[in-house]
Amino acid sequence: MTNLLVLQLLNGVQLGIILFLIAAGLTLVFGIMDVVNLAHGVLYMAGAYLMATFAAATGSFWWALLLVLPGAVVVGLLLEVVVIRRLYDRSHLDQVLATFGLVMMANETVKIIWGTSPLSVPMPDIFSGSVPLMGPLQYPVYRIAIIVAGLAVAGGLYLLVNHTRIGMLLRAGATNRAMVSALGVDIGKLFAIVFTLGAVLACFAGAIVAPILSVDTGMGESVLILTFVVVVIGGIGSIKGAFLGAVLVAVVDTLGGVFGPILLRSVLDASAAGQAGRTLAPMLVYILMAAILFAKPTGLFGGRG
Amino acid sequence: MSRLDVQSLTKSFGALKVTDDVSLTVEPGEIHAIIGPNGAGKTTLVAQLSGQLKPDSGRIRLDGADITGLSMPERVKRGLARSFQITSILPGFTVLENVALAVQARSGSSFRFFRPVAGDAALNDAAMEALTEAGLGDRAGVVASALSHGEHRRLELAIALATNPQVLLLDEPLAGVGGEDAEAFVARLRRFKGRFAMLLIEHDMDAVFALADRVSVLVYGRIIATGTPDEVRSDADVRAAYLGEEGEEMADA
C-alpha cells in the first residue's frame, strides 16, 4: 500500500512535469505579456506534427527534434507578426476571439495537410527501455528524460523571468507598453522574441511527448483547458506557480483516481461509492481549482488579479 | 462630540509600521489638515479611515458610533466620503454620469431594475449642482477619460461632494492643479467650510495654511505635532522634517 502510494506520487509528479512543459509557454505569454493565447494548444500540436513529419523524413528522433526547433521559430514568428502583434493592446476578450479563430483554422489546416488519422513518432532507441523500480514495477527511461527536460525548462524560465533584465522589461511591458517604449526599449521586438520563445516551448513540449502520446488533431484542444487550469492555480505570471500547479493538478488527479474510491468505500456502500467515485473523479481537477481560488482568489503565487 | 474620532490606530506592512498609534479628531465644520513627508503614512491613514484597509488595532468613531468594522460602502452611507490621491473615476462614463452615480448611492435603493435612470431629473440635478460647485459644469457631457489631469482632480472633488458627506477625506486634492485653478479650488473648499468637516492632506502649503483650522504633522507614522497653522509653522521639528526653507519663507511672509 505504501509502495503503491509512493509510486503513484511519483507518477503524479511526472505527469505534472509533462503538464508543466506544456503550460510553461502559456504562462510566459499569458502571464507576462498578458495575452490570452488559446492558440497555445495549436502550437503544441504543431510541434508534435512537425516532429512526426521530420521523424518520418529523416528516420531519426534526434534529427527531427533538431529540425522542429527552427520550424517552431518560423511558426511562432509568423503567428506573432501576422496576428498576435495586433492584439497586445486589445482586451482579453478580443484576444480570445481572435485566437479561437486561429485554433479553428489551424486544426483544419492540420487535417488538410496530415489527414485525420493519428500519426506516430518512434521512441529513440537509447531511451526505449525501462528501469526496474520496486518489485515488478518498472519505470520507462524516456519518462525520466522528460522529467529532466521539464526541470531544466522550469529552472531556465524561472531565471529568465525573475532574474534577468529581459524578464523585468517583459513584466514592465505587460502593464505599460507605452511607458517602456518611451524609456527607450523596442518593446515590439522584445515581445516578438518572447512570443516566439513561448511558441518554441510549446512546440518542444509537443515534440517530446509525441513518442508517448497520440499525435492527432484533437491533442491541442484536450490539453488547452488543463494548462489554463494549471496556470490559474499557480497564479498568472508565476513560473514557480505554474510548476507547482501542474504537479498539484497531476498528483490530485492521480491519487484521487486511485485512492478516492477506496476512501469513498469506507463511508458508503460499494455501489454508491462506485457511483459517487465515477461522478466525482472527472470533477476533481475543477474542484481543486475552485477550492484554491476560493481560498486564494489570485492563485497560489499570483499577486495580481 | 467630535465628528470623527480616531484612537490609537496602528497599521504595519510586514516590519514597516506605517501608522503608529495615531489619535486625532475632526470637529464639526472643521478643516483638519495632515501634512508630512512623502511616505509618512498619510494615504494609508485615509485608507483606514475610509475602510479600504483594515487597521491592526485602534478605533474609529463617526459621530460617536464605532465604524471600525464597517465596509467602505457602509461608511459612505453614514456620511464619510473620500477623494483619491491618484485619480479614480469611471473612464467610460460621462462626467455627469460619474457624479450622478454618486448621488444615486445616497438616494434610495439601486435595486431598481426597470425605470430608466438616464432621465432621472432628481439625480441629474443634484449631480449638476455638485459639478458646478467643483467648477466642471461646462464639461458635463464629456466622456470622463477625455478630461485633462487638472479636470480629473476637479471631477474627483465633485464625486465626493455628491455623496453628500458629513466628513470628507481629501487626499491631495490639489495635486496637478495649478495657478489660478488652484486658487479657485482653495476658494471653493473654503466655501464648503462649515457645511461639513474635512480631513485634508496636501503638500501645497499655501492651501494648507489658507484653509486649515488645525494642522497635524505625521512623520514615520507618528503624529509629532498638532496645532494651529501658526504654531505648526514655527515648530522647529516640523521645519526640519518637512517644511524646509519653504516653511521659513512662509513664516517670514
Partner: protein, 228 residues
C-alpha cells in the same frame, strides 16, 4: 537639440494642438507653462511619438523623428518623467530603475544618494510606494536611461516641500552638468530661478515665449496667461 515646429495633434476628432513651436538647445533649461487642459502633456506625448502628430515636425539633433516609435525618440537621447508617474506596478523599486537603464553617469548608486528613501524601499513593489515615493522613482527611472534631455511633466506633484526643493537643486545640478531640461510644473516661481527660457501655451497655441529676464521684466505675463 530638440526642435519642434508647427506641431498639431488631436485625440480622435478633438483637436488639441494647433501649431506648437519650441526648441531646447543643449544644456538649456526650458519650461512649458499653461493652465490645466491647455495641451502641455499632449505636446510631450507628441514629441515622444506616443501620440502621432497630425502635422509639424519633431527633430532631435537634426534627425527627423516626427511620429517615430517612442523608443527611437528615447534612444536619440530624450528621457521622460511622465505625468501621473506611471510606475511599473509588477516590478520592485530596484527593478523599476534597472529595467530600462542605459549606461552612463547616472547609476543606481547615484540615484539612491539622490533619493535615500528609494534605497530603503528597494524591495517594495512599485504600487507599494507612497505617491511621493513613486514620483521620486519616476524621476530616478528617467535619469537611469542617461538622457541628454530630460522631460519632466509635473515631476514635483505630490512631493513634500523639502523633497521638492531637493528636486530643484537636483535639476540645477543636472543643468550644471550640461544636461538639457524641458520642464512642466506649476511652481512657476521656483522655475524662474534657474530656467533659461519659457514657453506659455494656451488652447494648443504658443501665446508667449521669452527668457527669464523677459518674464521678470514683464510681470503681467504671469497674470495674463497663468493667473498667478
Amino acid at each position: 537639440m530638440l526642435e519642434v515646429t508647427g506641431l498639431e495633434a488631436a485625440y480622435g476628432e478633438s483637436r488639441i494642438l494647433f501649431g506648437i513651436d519650441l526648441h531646447v538647445d543643449a544644456g538649456e533649461v526650458v519650461t512649458l507653462m499653461g493652465r490645466n487642459g491647455m495641451g502641455k502633456t499632449t505636446t510631450v506625448k507628441s514629441i515622444f511619438g506616443m501620440l502621432k502628430p497630425r502635422a509639424g515636425t519633431v527633430r532631435v539633433d537634426g534627425e527627423d523623428l516626427t511620429g517615430a516609435d517612442p523608443h527611437r525618440v528615447a534612444l536619440a537621447g530624450l528621457g521622460l518623467v511622465p505625468e501621473g508617474r506611471q510606475i511599473f506596478p509588477t516590478l520592485s523599486v530596484e527593478e523599476n530603475l534597472r529595467a530600462t537603464a542605459r549606461p552612463g553617469r547616472w547609476t543606481l548608486k547615484r540615484i539612491y544618494e539622490l533619493f535615500p528613501r528609494l534605497a530603503e524601499r528597494k524591495r517594495n513593489m512599485g504600487t507599494q510606494l507612497s505617491g511621493g515615493e513613486q514620483q521620486m522613482l519616476a524621476i530616478g527611472r528617467a535619469l537611469m536611461t542617461n538622457p541628454r534631455l530630460v522631460v519632466l511633466d509635473e515631476a514635483t506633484e505630490g512631493l513634500a516641500p523639502l523633497i521638492r526643493a531637493d528636486i530643484w537643486s537636483c535639476l540645477e545640478t543636472l543643468k550644471d552638468e550640461g544636461e538639457a531640461i524641458l520642464v512642466i510644473d506649476k511652481n512657476v516661481d521656483a522655475l524662474t530661478r534657474f530656467a533659461d527660457r519659457h514657453v506659455v501655451i494656451e488652447k494648443g497655441r504658443v501665446v508667449w515665449s521669452g527668457t527669464t529676464q523677459d518674464i521678470l521684466a514683464t510681470p503681467d505675463v504671469k497674470d495674463r496667461f497663468l493667473h498667478v
